[in-house]
């Protein structure tokens, strides 16, 4: 049996920390109990406080967070698309990297594909969480975002670091040791040698270039090519010659002599490093930009999380 509650005037009520307001899920409604005669005013005070908290400031923060998450979602899709483009290897340079056994910029692009998807999915979760102001949802969002953040960080750092390994000397050494190597050691070596040979032949034909820095690469260094092709007949591979429409040299003697106009005198390094730089910097710096933005959004979400009612 309940005792009749005494209603005191508002200014005689205690603050909510003394009164007890029972909470049920997200709704703040108070129950009156024997112990709290000020229950009604306590709840009213609480209501007023709550109104102050979820005023314009919170709405602005909500709006910003939703906008931030939309941008993250779109950037996630863009990152996925960019990384799929790189992984598809439009310039056909992957066999060169595979042979160096240092193809981690491709691993970075693969990670980028999945991170992009994850960012898109998590941004949707974030938008729902922010609009509904649910604490658990936002906590899950923050933790999953941090995991995705860590993966994307790994991808960016890998792409940037391994780009530094790709120097002209690396490709020169690989070309000299593997191009048209006649006696591969094992199947793996054979696979890599064939890849390198095909790639170089295609590079020299399509880009009208020869060697890494020029045709003199074939003269200055011994090579696997030189062991099977004599210097007098092949001062440099015949793919270095200017070809006619049928794919044979316009003038083989002119090519062997090195007459300007009948052989390709420039090196292929630009044709190799250009696409690889684009690839590595595209993954690294776009990822960096996304992460900076995500950092701001996550900080905002953490702040928002601490402000919403539980």
């Amino acid at each position: 049996m309940e005792r009749a509650a005494t209603h005191l005037p508002k200014d005689q009520c205690f603050f909510p920390s003394v009164c007890l307001c029972l909470r049920t899920s997200q709704k703040n409604w108070c129950t009156r109990s024997l112990m709290t005669p000020c229950s009604s005013c306590c709840c009213r005070l609480h209501e007023e406080l709550k109104m102050a908290k979820s005023g314009d400031g919170i709405h602005i923060l909500q709006g910003l967070l939703v906008f931030g998450n939309v941008v993250i979602g779109m950037c996630g899709i863009a990152l996925t698309a960019e990384c799929i483009f790189f992984v598809s290897d439009p310039h056909g340079l992957y066999p060169l990297l595979e042979a160096t056994e240092n193809d981690d910029i491709y691993a970075a692009a693969w990670i980028g594909i999945f991170v992009g998807f994850a960012l898109f999915a998590l941004s949707i979760l974030g938008i729902i969480g922010v609009i509904k102001s649910k604490r658990t949802l936002l906590l899950v969002y923050i933790i999953l975002m941090l995991i995705t953040y860590a993966f994307e960080m790994a991808s960016c750092i890998t792409a940037a670091t391994h780009r530094d390994f790709l120097t002209p000397n690396l490709f020169l050494k690989q070309m000299l040791e593997m191009y048209r190597k006649s006696e591969p050691i094992n199947n793996n070596d054979k696979w890599m040698t064939e890849g390198v040979t095909k790639t170089w032949d295609k590079l020299m034909l399509e880009n009208q270039c020869c060697g890494v820095q020029g045709p003199t690469d074939w003269q200055e260094y011994m090579s696997a090519f030189r062991t099977t092709h004599s210097d007098a007949d092949f001062p440099w591979p015949h793919n270095c010659c200017v070809m006619d429409a049928q794919g044979s040299p316009v003038n083989l003697d002119g090519c062997k002599l090195g007459v300007p106009g009948y052989y390709n005198s420039n090196g292929c390094y630009d044709a190799i490093s250009g696409p690889m730089n684009t690839h590595a910097w595209g993954v690294a710096w776009f990822g960096f930009a996304i992460l900076c933005w995500t950092f701001c959004v996550l900080l905002g979400t953490m702040f928002y999380w601490s402000r919403i009612e539980y």
Partner: protein, 275 residues
């Protein structure tokens, strides 16, 4: 277009009955003052002041590891009959002082296959004067590539093979004109020609793993941002934990708090500090 000299045949052009006479050439009149001292050495060797030189520098394959390219001797042999054979002599520098012009080409002493150990010099690229027409047409590249024949390099049956040179040299060359087996003219020896030497690819410095500034900046900034986020997450969880703890304590002892305070008569005396 350019002209490469290959092994050519000789044309018989001597007047019958006068094997050592030569037909009149248009430039003979200008050469008349020189004929008098030359008549004195009619049966001797004509030493021309020309020295064979490498072709122009713009050729990418001027010297390779086993070939080199000479300029053709155009307008050099003015006193030579059309049927005389012009040979190119390639020798190691040590053989130059003791070189004997009378040794026949094609003998083992002048065989390419024995060069340089068994034969200190060899003769090749034999051709006749009509293959070096004078004057040289402008715009044409006229060269001789020494070392271009690989097919006969090993066969002893072709001692005058223009095969690839066995080592980086140096080598000295000259042109020698023979009529029959009689040397009639020669150029001076060229400067020593050294060919390229190929290094091993192992000598290429290993790919430098220099860290670029951009990569370091990227790594540093991302690490700091990630650390800040983790700190924020930890703060959040601590805040949540303390909040929940504070709430539950309030939850768990409602009686203790409210019973004490339930004293409407002394409402104004209760200290605000309890709040």
């Amino acid at each position: 277009m350019w002209a490469l000299a290959a092994a050519g045949g000789s044309r018989g052009d001597a007047e019958p009955g006068r094997p050592h006479s030569r037909p009149r050439h248009p430039g003979t009149r200008t050469m008349l003052p020189l004929l008098l001292p030359l008549l004195a050495t009619a049966h001797g060797l004509v030493r021309l002041a020309y020295a064979p030189t490498l072709a122009e520098e713009t050729l990418g394959g001027l010297t390779t590891t086993s070939t080199f390219t000479l300029e053709q001797p155009r307008c050099v042999f003015t006193e030579v009959r059309d049927d005389a054979i012009i040979w190119l002599v390639v020798a190691v520098p040590e053989a130059v002082p003791s070189f004997n012009d009378s040794v026949e080409p094609g003998t083992p002493e002048r065989a390419f296959q024995r060069f340089p150990a068994g034969a200190p010099a060899y003769m090749t690229l034999n051709t006749t004067l009509p293959n070096y027409p004078c004057p040289k047409p402008t715009g044409e590249i006229t060269v001789l590539r020494v070392g271009s024949e690989t097919a006969c390099a090993g066969s002893e049956t072709r001692p005058t093979c223009n095969g690839p040179l066995p080592g980086p040299g140096p080598y000295r060359v000259k042109f020698l004109v023979l009529e029959g087996s009689e040397p009639v003219a020669e150029t001076t020896w060229s400067k020593p020609i050294t060919l390229r030497t190929a290094r091993q690819p192992g000598s290429i410095p290993a790919a430098g793993s220099g860290r670029s500034a951009a990569m370091i900046a990227l790594t540093a900034i991302l690490s700091i941002l990630f650390a800040v986020l983790l700190a924020g997450l930890v703060a959040m969880l601590v805040f949540w934990g303390s909040d929940a703890y504070g709430g539950s304590s309030t939850f768990s002892k409602p009686e203790a708090v409210t019973v004490q305070r339930y004293n409407t008569h002394h409402v104004y005396d209760q200290p605000a500090a309890r709040l």
